[in-house]
Symmetry: C2
Subunit: 330 residues, 2 copies
Amino acid sequence: MSSAAQSPETERVVIIGSGPAGWTAAVYAARANLQPLCLTGVARSDPAPVLPGGQLMLTTEVENYPGFPAGITGPELMEAFQKQAERFGTRVLEEEVERCDFTTRPFTLRTDTGRVVRTYSVILATGATANWLGLENELKLARTGGGVSACAVCDGALPIYRGAQLGVVGGGDTAMEEATYLTKFAGTVHVIHRRDSFRASKTMQDRLLKAANVKVHWNKAVVDVVGDERLQSVTLEDTQTRQRSSLALGGLFIAIGHQPATRFLAGSGITLDAKGYIALGSRNSATNIEGVFAAGDVADAVYRQAITAAGMGCQAALDCERWLAAGGVH
Amino acid sequence: MSSAAQSPETERVVIIGSGPAGWTAAVYAARANLQPLCLTGVARSDPAPVLPGGQLMLTTEVENYPGFPAGITGPELMEAFQKQAERFGTRVLEEEVERCDFTTRPFTLRTDTGRVVRTYSVILATGATANWLGLENELKLARTGGGVSACAVCDGALPIYRGAQLGVVGGGDTAMEEATYLTKFAGTVHVIHRRDSFRASKTMQDRLLKAANVKVHWNKAVVDVVGDERLQSVTLEDTQTRQRSSLALGGLFIAIGHQPATRFLAGSGITLDAKGYIALGSRNSATNIEGVFAAGDVADAVYRQAITAAGMGCQAALDCERWLAAGGVH
């Protein structure tokens, strides 16, 4: 490392983000004596609701994070992650990174408070947010486990959905996949789509439509989500005739895409893939810029699970630690 | 699926192995309603000690599996994983798969009891075992957290190793990496090697040898591990003069390689990589045989952590589920 390594202001590693990937990277980096600084982000509601702790902060029961056979709530799990990271010496600032400069070394990060952080390496773990319809009631019922969800793999197996009438909103590959997954549990899966054809690949459409318990509602938009503690029904509006109708549902899965949180990377030189996610090495966490690593949903359009994000966070910390040990600064 | 799908004897998915990767695959496969069968393996001591539950069964305190800020023992963690997999409908047989036939579909697996299991898909999660020196006391002290370990990243940060005299046995890349990692914690790192030069790459050697607190003991073999509850010292034998000496140590890290558990795959057609690990797709869990997926240390020579193995198990289950949903049988 250059002499600047001795400067107290230059961090060895900064972790941006505070979901399963960020905290796991912090646990491993802290145990490797790197004294990581974690910039958690701040609570925001635009364009989608975001909290430090990530998407699990909007989740009631997590049944599929291994190690908790009785389940655990999302916020409890994230609190445990943070505690563990802090136990080994992670320093935490609840600030939002707004700009990254990776063109000079050490790297420079600027946060919402005007703070400037200099660091030899960075782990990007800012996650992604599900797109929502933006209807009243939708997020409330999602947060309280009241029958609205943006993740079939996460929530489809819950008892409340068994044998129920389940709606899936969307027409892309993800919507087909979520709907296909739900056919195992649902009485009927109602796929609700604004247009008269799916954007999804033919293969994915065929896979879905061969299931016996699928009904497609073409040219329909969900304009209201009805239910107090639990979802009762949705109001559909025909996108051509504007005629409204009610559809009774026990569950509603929103599958209209995700937005990886990469806006703060604009102009940073980090390469994104065709879908806007951070592009990684074949089986590691390296981005196109040496010393910058990424983990979790911001770099994963496929699996998007707490446990996969955590595994990626560990990889990023180990990759980063080995890179720093190898000399780090170029 | 072909008509054989209706046959009660044909499984949809069989998971082979019962460490973090296997149980996580089971949790996800079970929640996807695939009613997975998990073949856990049986306890063996040859060539290395192996237990259902994997390497964590030989571990006392696990401090780096995220979600447990106070730590958890390896066996407790694996019990929780298994319970969670069973809660969602995983069936478990404590049997060892001895042969796989992937040339005809459904696939055929044969276990140590003579049982023949037919299945449409398989997730290989048999793990790997660390190589040990084979000395009395070595494994006892490893199992009880008494100062012997085969994983610096897992155990190096434990308080008992801070500022201590730490031995690392080996001369390959992994030994260099483990020793470099331990320089952050140790008073002195003593690298003990049988020969007069390292097999490791020049880069890895340089990285290690530039640390101030490293001492290399060339041409020395560890022939005895001394200590009752806690490691006190090792006896070294000069491999050329046969002269013996004692070296006081607070910790001993064995870094003489790992053995992925792939013997049962002999003749199965599964492609292994240059190091003998199962070769996977770029960022997924697919092996070279459609319908056979792999996860965890049996397919990972790089990270080898409980959390990375668990993440891979989740990926394998989701990949497998999607493959079955797409038609599965070819």
